[in-house]
Symmetry: C3
Subunit: 112 residues, 3 copies
């Protein structure tokens, strides 16, 4: 598999407790990305945060230990990333999704 020089980075900010059909939403997104053969996905768990997925309207303290923020990073061509958007539109009820252009310098995997 080869990626061109110009790609996009898709970034999905959700919460650890967000779910889809009984499994964590971040897991559902990664499995979907793999099912449609995107080049890769990386899930990172934050240690603190607030946002669309964890906004609180009262003056309570930030939720530190529960519903931690999750960031999913996906890099592929703009065309391939487009294929994931319908699934995200359907499943991400709260959250932030950003896209930006990136230069892809190297993409390699062993053909095991």
């Amino acid at each position: 598999m080869k990626l061109p020089d110009e790609g996009q980075q898709l970034r999905i900010y959700i919460g650890e407790n967000d779910s889809h059909k009984g499994k964590p939403l971040y897991e559902a997104i990664v499995l979907k990305a793999r099912e449609i053969n995107l080049a890769g996905a990386t899930v990172i768990r934050g240690i603190m945060g607030f946002g669309a997925n964890s906004r609180i309207h009262t003056k309570k303290i930030l939720r530190l230990s529960q519903d931690l923020p999750i960031v999913i990073d996906i890099v592929d061509t703009s065309e391939n990333i487009e294929k994931l958007m319908p699934f995200l539109n359907e499943t991400v009820k709260e959250g932030l999704i950003t896209r930006k252009e990136v230069k892809i310098i190297k993409y390699l995997h062993n053909n095991k």
Copy 2:
């Protein structure tokens, strides 16, 4: 709350041990971001690193288990991010701050 299509991603690289008025600096930044109603913030702890916040000038080994790197990710309009800058200029004594343009595809939160 609605965000326009064009936004900025602010990224702050500091150390876990950096503090502000007796509390972790990353926590102070997140609380400030929330106080001024930014759309969201995510704090990620790295497992290794060096940089402005942890540069060492001798040939000692990298500090692996202490003062781990912290990355704070904030996405909002350029105008809103500007409002956080005075606080960062005052509190971030060592560190790196970057900004870049991002397309905001989706921003949703439940009105609980």
Copy 3:
């Protein structure tokens, strides 16, 4: 040390188990970045992922607990980042490397 306003963010996606001369590859990359005096590097470990470094061709479940994804974030001038590329070309056998432009707002370190 001073950085100009315009910089680049280099992002390296590899696996936790990737190694170079008997040490973790991410550690080798950070040590190299420091040896050639790059401004900083941050290593983040993901909690789940797939990609160049962990593609699996069978229908097995994703490798969740082993070979976790590693992301290395390096910000410096385009010229300085270029100096790291030969080392990456030599050592990163599987993985994804991206570069993008960033505005550097602030870079400070104490002269201890």
